[in-house]
Amino acid sequence: MSIWPEERLSHADTEGFHTVDMTINVGPQHPATHGVFRMVLTVDGELVTACEPYIGYLHRGLEKLSEINDYRQAMAFWDRTDYLAGLLCEQAYCMAVEKLADIEVPERAEYIRVMLSELSRINSHFMFLGAFGADVGSFGTSFTYAWRERERIYDLLEEVAGDRMFPTYYRPGGVAMDLPENFEKRCREVLGHIFQGIDDLDGLLTGNEIFVERCRALSPLTTERAINLGVTGPVLRSTGLAWDLRKAEPYSIYPQVKFDIPVGLRGDVFDRYMVRLAEMYQSARIVEQCLEQIPGGHFLNPKLPRNLRIDDAEAYVRIEGTKGEYGVHAVAKGGNRPYRMKLRSPSFCNLSALSEMVVGHYVADAIIILGSLDIVLGEVDK
């Protein structure tokens, strides 16, 4: 005798019963979205069949704000785009303004910029390693390991620029003030800790069978597809293409320092992780060389106008940000304010590839793939 009524049973093998895919809303508040990002996953059991990203929760109207402030004021907003490496964004912005107004930058300022920007890059990649380890599930241990080193870099930045995350230290035409006297000694000290920190994280994550097994051969991306999707930075390099704007379209003093471009072999999540890890060594190498080569002289172009007014001009300046090609498209039409400032944000473009990359993987892997793109929501949402 069944506990179910007869008619209920007879329904079981007709079209009365059917399965529906479940949608899971990941975010905007979710530990794995690294900020306010939301994606709606359609899952069949544990497998993702569709992914719809929703962004814009952190949209602050950066481009509009740049239009209504003058050239020097607007720079403070650009720190807040890639807030893990604010100085790189400042660098791009200043380079754009310098390009528009044909301002010369003293060599010492270029060296200072490159040094601090590379430290910021290391900082951002540390954040990636820590957060990615937490995504894979190492319970925050990688996070605190990474944070220890980030704290040292932040302290150094504070000594130089007076602020940790958003220094607003660069100026069109140089930097705001000269380096402190003991900078070289302090920087070498921090670099020593950085190497130790990279090795620690390397041992904790890469040396772990489960970590490697989770990341290996996960969501591989071909170079052609990556290019078509507009993916740049470490994610593109992990597919095997050694394309780094510091070498491909050299700017600042990068031609004068030696460094390699780490590339991946298969374009999977593990390669993205590995490329970033190897890039940190290269960035530290650049800083070391800069410390040796840095010349004396002005840190700020002394012949700058008090009020920066730029006539009709247009420039698309791009630098290698931490996440990829960080481009600033600046248009001037007279006056002391930009007519248009457009940010080509690498996280934005990398994130647009997400929905294609996670389909067919497990929910747990979707989180890791998102983590491997290393997005910064301030940069995505502008």
Binding site: A134, D202, E213, P262
Partner: protein, 382 residues
Amino acid sequence: MNGASPLPFGDVFFGWSWLDAIIRIVIVVLIMTVVVVYLTYGERKVVARIQQRLGPNRVGPWGLLQGFADAIKLLIKEDIRPRAADRWVFEFAPFLTFIPVLMVLAALPFARDWGVRNVTLGLLFVNAALGLNIVGIMMAGLGSGNKYALLGGVRAAAQMISYEIPLVISIICVAMVAGTLDLNAIAILQEDRPFLLLQPLAFVIFFTAMLSELHRAPFDIPVAESEIVGGYFVEYSGIRWSMFQLTEYASLWAFSIFGSVVFLGGWEFPMGSDWGWGWQLFLTFVKSLAWIIAVMWVRTTVPRLRIDQLMSFCWKVLLPMSLVQLLMNGFILVYDWPQELLTLTSGIGAAALVGFILYRTARHPSVAHLVGAYKRAGAQAQ
């Protein structure tokens, strides 16, 4: 009282066995509460130590009262029930997860002849009771009306049912060697050597499966913080949430005492019977503490497995290995071969299991080599 037991408990308090039982239960529950409070504190301290943090250090000397502060906070928090939840299923789920742990505690010997009850079939009873845990978890997952909770509940069901099998088989292996299911008798049989030496393979399997039963990393996918935000108890708050927390730590404690009785000699090894109950309690304490710290250590350093990797590890590695152990034991015991052979065969098995995992780790190129390879690949591409 069970007169047929080889080691009947003496009625140390009164002649009335029911009153005696109640007093014992009260004592055990009180001890359990204190233990749980200090386990949460201890876990935070251990994890903090591994993650280079300080951990709780504000409430009381060295933060020793932190657990009580947390408990009070949880008790006076609002008990929220989501509108979508199934009322009775939702509200009873925490208690149904907790009751099995209490049942287990009733059967564990803490010192010679001292537990709530000496269950003659203690081994079987403990396993049966621990298997009941899943009912409450499934109820919490289904009753919460939350998709994360549902995923967590279903994951927990799949995982716990799978890992129950190697767990029980590894226990059966010990029971074969001991020839009894009585936990006190098992402890006494380990007078001169713990069963760990006779059954290392069973020990490894037991420890692994136990981690899974406890939802501890690397098997914490039902409660995966970075994926499904806590899993089945995501919707609980206040006292009901603290019931889940209580269950987690109480079952960790129960498992550690159970494991130390079965594999490490419990209160008996070494010199338990000779040196009196104080020494026995001390042995129980030290062994369970070591066991718990090992679990916490694993938790902080190992990332999470994916669900398919978890399942294949259970069905393709742990289950066959536990069956091999069972078979070897059977041959050796039936033909009455010397006990050293047990150590030898099981040791070889354990070495094979650990070696298999180590081999898979070592199969990947070494870390330094890998980073070097990525550097070189980049250099060539230039």
